[in-house]
């Protein structure tokens, strides 16, 4: 198959168009820059923190953030959370370090071990005994460290590598669980209650699929080891992801359709849930939370104080 824009051999096809390497890279960059502009994700006065695991999504978003920030003279850096997942995170951190050195990007690493006294591998053993799921523990603690780290390093925005697949999965999961309130906190800019202790999260890859991201990483020659978290198959998300991929095969554009339909109702959802939840501050750590003690401190007390 030939590229729809020139006579070169196509490396990608989507929605009736095919792309050679150069036209695909161009399409990828334009799509991301358009998302950043459309949703005002980054401004000149921002200090951008890119949450970077070293996986393909984060390296792609780090690279594109670098291009955008250099073009518009915006300050940025990378932040990695080392959960301590043996034979997984150590590989991606190495990829991230190589990448940051190559492009001269400032990066910081914060570890579970240093902040909580245990690695995630150690915490999971305790969590499973107490009936908790690994992804829940990891998600809460990682989000907390990302927010704290970004805030303490002076960031005004936190870039994540969440993509079209992540967003369509999250929306469907919330639908299945009957939790529209959680969907109100999705979207290209995360969070529905502004709070000066909460660094807003932004998703430049919002309309980019996982396949496009991996292809981009491959064509750019980024050193990315294939890495699937060893705990993913225990999650509900993995089941939704697989079903969604089957639907995408049956009808191309399904994920786009889900996300675009979601964006139509998102303003109403944000309005509905805008002031229903009063934010207070955790009595232990001072971070914003819904109750007296934040979920991270509850987990820390349950799992780390032994």
């Amino acid at each position: 198959m030939k590229c729809s824009s020139c006579s070169k051999k196509a490396v990608y096809s989507s929605q009736g168009r095919s792309y050679c390497k150069d036209h695909f890279l161009n399409y990828f960059e334009r799509k991301i820059f358009r998302t950043i502009r459309k949703f005002s994700l980054m401004k000149h006065e921002d200090k951008i923190c890119v949450a970077a695991s070293g996986g393909k999504d984060s390296l792609a978003v780090l690279y594109m953030t670098m291009l955008y920030c250099k073009k518009y003279k915006i300050d940025f850096f990378a932040l990695n959370i080392d959960e301590g997942i043996a034979d997984y995170r150590d590989h991606t951190i190495k990829d991230l370090e190589t990448f940051c050195k190559k492009y001269d990007i400032t990066y910081h690493i914060i570890s579970f071990k240093e902040k909580f006294g245990y690695t995630l591998d150690e915490l999971i053993k305790k969590a499973i005994k107490k009936g908790k799921k690994p992804c829940t523990v990891c998600g809460i603690l990682r989000r907390t460290l990302l927010n704290r780290g970004a805030r303490e390093l002076g960031a005004t925005k936190l870039v994540t590598g969440h993509n079209l697949d992540d967003e369509s999965q999250a929306y469907l999961m919330n639908l299945f669980l009957g939790s529209m309130k959680h969907s109100a906190a999705l979207g290209p800019v995360t969070g529905f209650n502004s709070n000066n202790k909460f660094v807003p999260r932004i998703k430049p890859l919002y309309f980019i699929s996982e396949k496009e991201t991996r292809l981009f990483a491959l064509l750019k020659g980024f050193e990315v080891h294939f890495s699937e978290c060893p705990n993913i198959n225990l999650s509900f998300r993995a089941k939704v992801r697989d079903k969604l991929n089957q639907l995408e095969l049956l009808r191309e554009g399904t994920k786009n359709g889900i996300v675009n339909a979601f964006l139509e109702v998102l303003p109403d959802l944000k309005e509905k849930y805008k002031n229903t939840k009063e934010f207070s501050y955790c009595k232990r750590c001072g971070d914003p939370c819904a109750g007296e003690i934040c979920n991270a401190c509850i987990l820390e007390e349950e799992l780390c104080q032994e």
Partner: protein, 64 residues
């Protein structure tokens, strides 16, 4: 042809000339979840594969 399946970290030998799409059907792999590489070049599903080709099936799923 030699076929490397990244997700399973295994290499198999496939002795049938076919298209990339037919190969994925034979291996029961959903094309939306992979990128195909033939002799170090990214290919699409209509590509014809022959016995001497080296194929990589790269998974696009990562993270957790």
């Amino acid at each position: 042809m030699k076929v490397f399946i990244e997700k399973e970290n295994k290499q198999i030998v496939f002795d049938k000339e076919c298209t990339a799409k037919e190969l994925l059907v034979e291996l029961n792999i959903n094309p939306t979840t992979v990128i195909l590489v033939k002799n170090n070049e990214t290919i699409l599903l209509d590509e014809k594969l022959s016995k001497d080709d080296e194929i990589k099936i790269l998974s696009v799923v990562s993270g957790g």
